[in-house]
Amino acid sequence: MQPTILTLERVVLLGYSFYGDPFTQSAGWTEENEIGRLWQRFMKFWEIEGKENPSLSDRYWYEIHTDTPETTEKGFFDVFVGAESSNMDGSIPGPLYKVLPTGDYALFTLKGKDIFGDWFQSMMEKWLPDAGLKQRFPMLIQRYDDRFKGMDRIDESELDILVPVLRNEA
């Protein structure tokens, strides 16, 4: 799969974070595990406070996985779920700010049931090397917008994956 290269300026996100073993309760794409509960928490915030706040945008929802030293050893992940914020003025108590570092990102768009597959393996072993790219640091971004129709309509859905990249030295 060929990526599109996006150069992102500093993107500020506001949302919630989880660190640990994400599948202790359930392994599916479901609300019954730690990531599902993170989304529930964020959506509750959005309904009550977020959607009325002019500094926040619902253009995209982000789910960001960042590896830590314990990721390879224990399978613990840092997961953040949130939306874009136009500032970091700290006016909204509770949720956290996260900044996507400036730089190049490879954008892949997954469609239908491929969303559930092991696309990360394909991306690391084939898609990025074939495009002369390598991951710049261990962060993976799932970016949802209105093309994602939900788990019950996965065949009609699309999901953007962004990964920070560097060009391989020739």
């Binding site: 073993d21 599948f23 392994a27 224990k74 992940f77 092991d118």
Partner: protein, 265 residues
């Protein structure tokens, strides 16, 4: 979503990788590599196949190995902790206590323990049974309060044939394995009928009220059912609770944990 055979095979490769180096450093990433999956996808698939996360599995198997070492050797506890990849004796003792409900020193002094408490390595047969031939029964009706039959210390051996010979009955037979808490490491096997066959000399056993857990499985032994109940169906119970009664009638296997006896109706 039900895992497919390829996913079960991949998880078994990962488990083999871990089990072959249980006393050495083996990371979740090593297991993912053996399964040929990316780490995050592997964690998801592993949990869907085993009902445990990879790290939970590693931890429980290392604790199981440590429990066996405590029973079988005189090695000091700190050495066993390090041999089973725990960073320190304190970390080990806390994890052991959380899982088994007692400190390692107490486990050793109370030896022996029911083997069903020691989580075995999962294999393809167990995982295949779990996903294809096993149903967890929510809120099962409890077994009958009293059964009539014959009992032996130890295993079932020839009890069913003997019971049928003595009584001449071909009614459905209940198999009961009873682990008396006051006799650690010992168990009794009972085979009997729900209704008294009015044969002289039969024993009766009263099954307690409480929170029975049940599964239905096509094939498999009572031993395997106990493992699945103890370590998969009831896996999120902390600490692991010994089964006091394991009961099988046709395809249905039920178990009552010691700590649930207080939930009597």
């Amino acid at each position: 979503m039900k895992p497919d055979p390829y996913q079960i095979e991949a998880v078994c490769r990962a488990i083999d990788r871990f089990e072959s180096s249980l006393r050495e450093d083996c990371s979740v990433q090593n297991m993912a590599d053996a399964a040929c999956y990316s780490l995050f996808h592997f964690c998801r698939v592993f949990a869907s196949v085993t009902h445990l996360t990879p790290y939970q599995y590693m931890l429980r198997r290392r604790l199981a190995q440590a429990a066996l070492d405590l029973q079988a050797t005189d090695e000091n506890i700190s050495r066993i902790a390090l041999d089973c990849c725990f960073n320190s004796p304190e970390t080990f003792s806390r994890a052991f206590n959380r899982y088994f409900g007692m400190l390692p020193s107490r486990w050793r002094s109370d030896t022996p323990h029911p083997s069903s408490l020691i989580m075995p390595a999962f294999d393809y047969a167990l995982l295949d049974l779990l996903h294809n031939d096993l149903t967890v029964i929510e809120n099962p009706d409890p077994p009958p309060g009293r059964l009539y039959g014959i009992m032996n210390p130890g295993d079932f051996d020839d009890l069913e044939r003997m019971l049928r010979m003595i009584t001449g009955k071909d009614d459905p037979v209940w198999f009961v394995r009873w682990y008396p808490g006051e006799l650690p490491g010992e168990w009794f096997s009972f085979v009997g009928f729900e209704r008294s066959p009015e044969t002289e000399g039969l024993a009766s056993i009263d099954l307690p009220h409480g929170g029975w857990s049940a599964i239905e499985m096509q094939g498999g032994t009572l031993d395997l059912a106990e493992i699945l109940l103890q370590h998969v169906v009831l896996a999120d119970r902390v600490p692991v609770m010994p089964i006091e009664y394991a009961v099988k009638i046709q395809n249905r296997v039920m178990a009552l944990n010691l700590n649930e006896l207080t939930d009597s109706v």
